[in-house]
């Protein structure tokens, strides 16, 4: 992941922080997968797992931040190493929020299942969007491991798809609620789930921005896709 340094201890410090981050990513990915599984099959068997993993993810965020502080204090990194460490710190907080979103989805699914009205709701579109979001997070972590800017840009592009799905889904929910006011409470649950999925997509996009930052040293946050492509070239 990183180039060799004169101090091999520094290399191993950087590697171990990266590994911790990827481990945290793995935890968050399983969390999303389980949340989606419970949403698709309306089963509450995996929800407790999602809720339990939450504490573990939080714990890892704190640990990674502490490790980062130590590395910065001891090694006083510069250039790419500094960017890598800064990006890891930001990605960690993004991942932690993805975990939170998965947590939210799980809680809402639980309340939907308990209300027993979920079967009639237009859940299919949500399934598509949630698979997309999980896939984006997965690919953004892969892109981080490989420091693959091309993949990062692709993620940037695909996040729009999720946003479009989200808007379409909200329109559908509105129709549902107008047709039958009894569905309002489950529609609201679904709305929150959809929002959480949309946020997961946004976090994947943020992670890909940090990958570009590590490799090229340019901050591409809040810039348009066209601008990013120009910077890369």
């Amino acid at each position: 992941m990183t180039e060799k340094h004169l101090s091999s201890q520094f290399d191993s410090d950087l590697n171990s922080v990266s590994s911790r981050l990827m481990e945290m990513g793995g935890l968050v990915e399983t969390q999303i997968k389980r949340a989606i599984h419970s949403l698709t099959y309306f089963s509450i068997s995996e929800i407790d797992d999602v809720l339990a993993t939450e504490a573990q993810v939080d714990q890892m965020e704190v640990e990674i931040d502490r490790a980062l502080t130590t590395v910065v204090a001891r090694r006083q990194p510069a250039a790419r190493d500094l960017r890598l460490l800064l990006a890891i710190s930001k990605i960690t907080s993004n991942l932690e929020r993805v975990g939170d979103e998965a947590h939210k989805i799980a809680k809402r699914v639980k309340s939907l299942v308990e209300s027993g009205e979920a079967r009639q709701m237009p859940i299919g579109d949500l399934r598509v969007a949630s698979d997309l979001a999980a896939n984006l997070i997965h690919r953004s972590l892969d892109a981080f491991a490989r420091l693959d800017v091309g993949a990062a840009i692709a993620i940037y592009r695909e996040d729009d798809l999720i946003d479009r799905e989200f808007k379409g889904f909200v329109r559908k929910l509105i129709t549902c609620m107008m047709e039958d006011p009894r569905t309002i409470s489950s529609s609201l649950d679904l709305l929150f789930i959809a929002k959480a999925i949309e946020r997961i997509g946004d976090h994947a996009k943020n992670i890909s921005e940090y990958i570009i930052y590590i490799v090229h040293g340019t901050d591409v946050r809040h810039s348009k896709l066209k601008g990013i492509e120009n910077i890369i070239q």
């Binding site: 992941m1 590697n15 990266s18 590994s19 990827m22 481990e23 990513g25 793995g26 935890l27 990915e29 399983t30 997968k33 698709t40 399934r127 698979d131 896939n135 997965h138 972590l141 892969d142 491991a145 490989r146």
Partner: protein
Amino acid sequence: MPALLSRMMLLLILMAGGAAFASLAGSKTAGVGLGVVAGALIWLVRDNWRARAFADWLNHVRDKPGTPPPLLDGARREAAERIQRLLRKQSFETEELENRLHNIQSALQASPNGVVILDEQECIEWCNRTACEHFGLDSRRDLSQRITHLLRAPALVRRLAMRDFGEALTLESPLATATHPLRLEVQIFPYGHGHLFMLSRDITAIEQAETMRRDFVANVSHEIRTPLTVMSGFVETLQTLPLAEEERADIFNRVAQQTERMKSLVDDLLTLSRLEGSAPPGIKEWTPVRALLERLGTDARALSAHIAGQNVPRHELVIEGMDTSDEIAGSASELQSAFFNLVNNAVRYTPPDGKIVILWQAQPHGGARFSVQDNGPGIAPEHIPRLTERFYRVDSSRSRASGGTGLGLSIVKHVLQRHDATLAIDSTLSRGTCFTVTFPAARVR
């Protein structure tokens, strides 16, 4: 020795030659001394030049072992020859080793299992194509990438961290999607000095089969228990409550219905097990299609009337291709039951006054098609691939109420497989469904 002697001779001759030249030139002792020195200098230059050539050749021969040594004499030639021999042997051995390595890699490449070789840092040293397909790795780009950076499943990360490689691990592939599930069994074997050998096996099909078997047992038990529960309830009523004659008759009627239901379930199960257990029907026995269609028509009308509780059928039934003289090779009773199952579904699921078209049509390139088309509620696309699974129900409350056992389409599928025929299901929600059976040319005459 002769080489050394000849070199000393050469040196002496050169020195003597130098002295002679000097004495010829005129001067005496000083001249001779100068001549000796000049001769020695010439010798030194020549020797140095040869040493340089030898060193140059050494540089060359390292890359190209075939380069011939320059003109050398004595000890240097011997050294050059030995070096060349050594280099040839070495390059031959390297080549052999490379070949062997290549062979081993091809063997691992050919393995149906995924193979990943990890070094002591848990970085990928090599992986085969199957592993790439299983884990979404890139066999070039991901080399020397730490495995846990790409395979982030917590269960695997934990195993690697604890170095606990006892049992195999079941993982979902990172490439798995809702439509293409991919479950993997991963086993890690440590070897050498901290190296790891990771094997992955695709167990999607095995897991699916296992789930189906479990579901089947659960479903059969459930299907049998339901009528039993109803009946035991009625029996209890009969035992404990004093009932009027009419009420008793009503209860007996219902018990009869439930036993009928259980009987048809057991019949269907037996049919299925017979279909699975017996050899497929040969192509000796020929069944006229016309008779099949006629009987189908009669049965369908009777069923339609029976469901509506009237004497006349409530559906519009059309049979096309009735005048055919085709014959199908295969068991008449099996085909009858498969066809009737399709018609049965159409009649039961199409609302009254719906239209059902049964069609027999010979195909232009041989073979024939049998189809049942209705204009009923249709089937949602996500159910279609699973329709022929045992006990799979699109809407469980409705189909059980209409008296289905949940085995009809599995029977159809089995019968058709035994007759080399295929089943295609084409459906649009709220438009209707068409089940099409296609027989190959060899089975139709």
